[in-house]
């Protein structure tokens, strides 16, 4: 019976790990939303900050990718 419990534990853990991506999605939306609201107030200054926006998106999304990686590792690699 131990083998099946391990399998069940892995799958449940993978499902729980996916809840981390919700926070990442909110974080990315926060960055882009702030960029948009700033860009609509000051369109001329918007072009200079697209690089900063992309860096912010990358940092926020990286953590969502980390949690997806944990889920994938639990399901297929362990």
């Amino acid at each position: 019976m131990e083998g099946e419990f391990v399998e069940m534990g892995k799958l449940i853990g993978a499902g729980l790990a996916c809840t981390g991506m919700g926070g990442a999605a909110i974080g990315v939306g926060h960055v882009v939303g702030n960029y948009l609201s700033g860009a609509l107030r000051n369109p001329n200054a918007a072009a200079s900050q697209t690089a900063t926006m992309f860096i912010g998106i990358a940092f926020a999304e990286a953590l969502g990718i980390f949690s997806f990686l944990v889920a994938l590792l639990l399901m297929y690699a362990m």
């Binding site: 399998e7 690089a51 992309f54 860096i55 998106i57 990358a58 999304e61 990286a62 990718i65 980390f66 997806f68 990686l69 994938l72 399901m75 297929y76 690699a77």
Partner: protein, 248 residues
């Protein structure tokens, strides 16, 4: 994942297995694997684009020359904006990084190909080289003033030791996050496509829904591929700027 009905198994991670191409058995460091093949194809693609694109040298560029020029100007402007004039000495290294990752990612979009940037071994070495070279450069250029990167003089004196610990930890986490971001994005995108493809294989006539989902994810993947190459390069420029001009 446990087998479905025993007839059709969805194995989305099999696409990341490195297999030797011309010999059987275990992998030595000199084995020519599918990863080596796609790295070679990326290298040949870069050489073809830049050697034969610039060869004519027209003032009004044709199509291939225009692509090469746009990529060059894009990376040049990025390095210039972020690191300033004295960062331009390191432009060849950053350009090489950008092109390698861009071509590696984009070639992974072709069906039946292998994304060599989806392996932590490849991106880990790239990020580790960036980290080591940027640290050594910081010490060579600035001496011990490079450690001023961690001692934030604009914060109140009582907070500085805590901030020192936090800054040192976040400095050493940089290669980890740098490498996992690229590898994780590539692996995640391709694994999702394979999982949907597995669903489409099972569903028979209702496979239209997963196929539409694959089209949508593929479009997103095309965007993510270019953005991840750009983000890797721009973060390298930011770390280089921190090394060349440490100051908070």
């Amino acid at each position: 994942m446990a087998s479905e009905s025993g007839v059709f198994e969805i194995k989305p991670m099999d696409q990341f297995i490195i297999t030797p191409l011309f010999s059987e058995g275990d992998l030595q460091w000199y084995t020519f694997t599918n990863q080596s093949l796609w790295m070679l194809i990326a290298l040949i693609g870069i050489i073809l684009l830049f050697v034969f694109g610039i060869r004519k040298g027209d003032v009004v560029p044709g199509r291939i020359q225009s692509i090469a020029e746009v990529i060059y100007v894009f990376v040049h402007k990025m390095v210039l904006d972020i690191t300033g004039e004295d960062g331009l000495k390191y432009f060849p290294y950053i350009f090489t990084l950008f092109l390698l990752i861009l071509f590696g990612n984009v070639l992974g979009l072709l069906p039946y190909s292998f994304t060599f940037t989806s392996h932590i071994a490849v991106t880990g070495i790239l990020a580790l080289l960036v980290f080591i070279s940027v640290t050594i450069l910081g010490f060579v250029k600035n001496g011990l003033k490079f450690l001023g990167l961690f001692w934030i003089s604009s914060a109140p004196l009582a907070l500085r030791p805590i901030l020192l610990i936090i800054e040192v930890i976040s400095y050493f986490v940089r290669p980890i996050s740098h490498s996992i971001r690229l590898a994780g994005n590539m692996m995640a995108g391709h694994a999702v496509i394979k999982v949907f493809a597995g669903f489409a294989g099972i569903m028979g006539l209702g496979a239209v829904a997963p196929i539409l989902a694959i089209v949508a994810v593929y479009g997103l993947e095309m965007l993510v591929v270019v953005i991840q190459a750009y983000v890797f390069t721009i973060l390298t420029c930011v770390y280089l700027n921190d090394a060349l001009h440490p100051g908070h």
